[in-house]
Symmetry: C2
Subunit: 423 residues, 2 copies
């Protein structure tokens, strides 16, 4: 949908951005208690608004069905009482986290008597661009508020009414706590030009977080003139080393692939050390086949009955489905080379009982998350204990891995002297 | 100077960038000892190459004089034995700092038995674009190497021969320590198109650090498609509160303005609380006048003999000279409002004995560095105890304030389980 001119869209975002910047100044000084109160009050308001949210969602569903959205898109859009309760729980769980703002990150004294502190501060204004899941409205707003940032939310056009109803409850929370309503703003239009305007809003928006598929994230990464926290793909690898414990390996491989196949932390490629294969044969492949996974096997692994021969393009693929590429490698150096070439820097796991081999894997790779004897499906802010995440970043600037409230902060230096001058 | 086509320049930077990325992989795994050895050996090589460096510098000086460079530019370009020794000392001082790579930044356990560590890693490849000071070649290379990053240096066209001679010594250090020579590369051309190519080298360069005047920094900030650590201006404020100690205030104001006027941490504006003025009159202004500073005074301060009346444009000006703008304000709230409006987010100092007032200043402002009873001239990585700095950043992403080796790192998560799967 495009009706707004570029100028109209820029003016709209400039207006939202200016209000957000003013709100950010108030938020930066807001006490932990006040932000906590706003989150709890917003959670209560979400529960109290269940009927209104469901009505709004029904309207969005009619629109989306008429538009012919896929069943999985419709499922993401759909709200029910359980999902509304989960949203409120999410707000309470973020509220319960320690406040990340004002923490003294480090401090030291200088020989001249100066005392220097590095103290966490909010980033400022965060833009969140997401697709059809309306719950992102609540999750992203909660993390932004917790970290003292103003947020401008731009939900998928399909979820406009649902997001507006959720936003109304969040506004109640802000109001109850005496915080400015512009702390959480929703872009009030389905027009796509508003997304383009957000992406070029240098000086108004400090960071953009896209939540959605590769199409959305790729667009944001290409077009944004402001910093972006994101991952384009989660091409996660599991490497079964010759020194792996067989039972742990079987458990972790199966869980990494099959627990949920549509999340970015799902394994897309299994690398099997020739030494492992010599000891244990194709057991890992057989487990996957037995679980109904399509196994695209390279080289001699394709001799295992039930597999299909891998195409070179299967390596470096994000299937997000019950499909996995498997390949034999010559120990950890070969695994590292493969992952460096085909990985997306998201999450990789090594299965080994050998500390030196694990260390080599940890040192030789530079993905955001490296695991040992653990499922790649743990790549998640909640599982990391961050309360929630606004997304997972594979860039190396500022935030990396699961982005929780702490990663939405910057810092400043506070220097105290006693009439101290530089000679 | 422009002879390269855009394609030629992109190809040149792609070649340097690919070599840098390969070197970065080796550097990321290099031990602290090896990097230390390379820095010490490079320092020795700089001392041993004194004659060659001076010869190269003489050639640059002839070129620069023929080009009609200003005396201050010529002074920045000029090397002598003392400046060469200082460069070698800089390398040794960076070597002596703790190695920032591999530090466990934080770690915690999860109820399911997972142990999570956040560990410092190099950023990757750093591009440094600088003007005529040839010593930046050594300083920037040292900080990049210490933090395990490869660096591509693009010095001012005037300093091409000096930088090449210094670079040769640095290469000796790398070679002696068995590190790849592509860890420190110099763009081998005066062509300006190479700068443009660096700025658009997404995927090859992880961050650009510009070192130089407002023209260079502004160009880099406008054009870069990769992240930039920089400050455009240092419009630093000193606020003399009504509760200031008079003698400390006199000392700090004078030092903040006059110690060196050409650095980014020099004060450009003095805000005097009306309560301070009522107690002490124009003593701070008189001190500045006595030190030969041109005082551009607002309102009733302009009645002080020797001042000139301030123009509105004097506020928010970076003079980098013996000039200061002064103004009366109504306490710390008014000072905060003024600084928020006119400051550049670099460094501000409050002079007060009142803890609550100081805290209000620290909370209400969001400059990279806030000081109390200390000279703004301390805004410097060396003075912060970082050994050296590659620059000062006023952005809020990743690095902020003085950028030392530690700020040139990112992190990754290392997660250890015991066959742990997600339910």
């Amino acid at each position: 949908m495009k009706d707004l001119t570029q100028n109209d869209a820029d003016a709209l975002i400039a207006k939202l951005g200016a209000a957000a910047r003013d709100a950010a100044i108030v938020l930066a000084e807001a006490t932990a208690e006040r932000k906590h109160a706003a989150l709890i009050s917003a959670a209560d308001a979400i529960i109290a608004s269940e009927d209104a949210i469901l009505d709004a969602n029904a309207e969005d569903m009619r629109f989306a069905e008429a538009k012919g959205l896929s069943p999985s898109m419709l499922d993401r859009l759909k709200l029910d009482p359980a999902r509304i309760r989960a949203m409120a729980e999410g707000l309470r769980s973020v509220a319960a986290q320690p406040d990340p703002v004002g923490r003294v990150l480090t401090e030291w004294d200088r020989p001249n008597g100066l005392h220097i502190q590095r103290v966490a501060t909010p980033l400022g204004v965060i833009g969140v661009i997401y697709e059809s899941r309306p719950n992102v409205t609540a999750d992203a707003a909660a993390l932004a508020l917790k970290s003292g940032n103003a947020v401008i939310l731009r939900g998928g056009s399909e979820s406009l009414h649902s997001s507006a109803a959720i936003h109304k409850a969040l506004a109640t929370g802000l109001k109850d706590a005496g915080l400015p309503e512009a702390a959480i703003q929703l872009v009030p239009t389905r027009d796509r030009e508003a997304v383009a305007a957000l992406l070029r809003a240098q000086g108004l928006i400090d960071v953009i977080v896209p939540r959605g598929g590769k199409g959305l994230v790729g667009l944001v990464q290409r077009e944004a003139r402001v910093p972006v926290f994101a991952h384009l793909e989660g091409i996660c690898h599991v490497y079964a080393d010759g020194d792996a414990d067989l039972e742990k390996a079987r458990r972790v491989v199966l869980n990494s692939k099959t627990r949920r196949t549509g999340i970015c932390g799902a394994a897309e490629c299994l690398l099997i050390d020739r030494a492992f294969f010599a000891k244990h044969g194709g057991v890992l492949v057989q487990d996957l086949l037995d679980a109904g996974v399509e196994v695209r096997a390279d080289g001699e692994l394709s001799a295992i009955s039930g597999t299909v021969a891998a195409d070179p393009s299967d390596f470096g693929q994000e299937f997000l489905d019950k499909i996995i590429a498997v390949k034999l490698v010559d120990g950890v150096p070969d695994a590292i080379t493969h992952i460096r070439r085909y990985g997306s820097g998201h999450t990789e796991s090594i299965l080994t009982e050998n500390d030196a081999t694990a260390e080599r894997f940890f040192k030789g790779l530079d993905s955001a998350i490296l695991m040992r004897n653990a499922s790649t499906q743990f790549a998640d802010g909640g599982e990391f204990g961050m309360g929630a995440e606004i997304g997972i970043a594979t860039g190396k600037m500022h935030a990396r891995g699961p982005v929780g409230a702490e990663q939405l902060t910057s810092f400043k230096y506070l220097v105290t002297g006693d009439g101290t001058v530089r000679t």
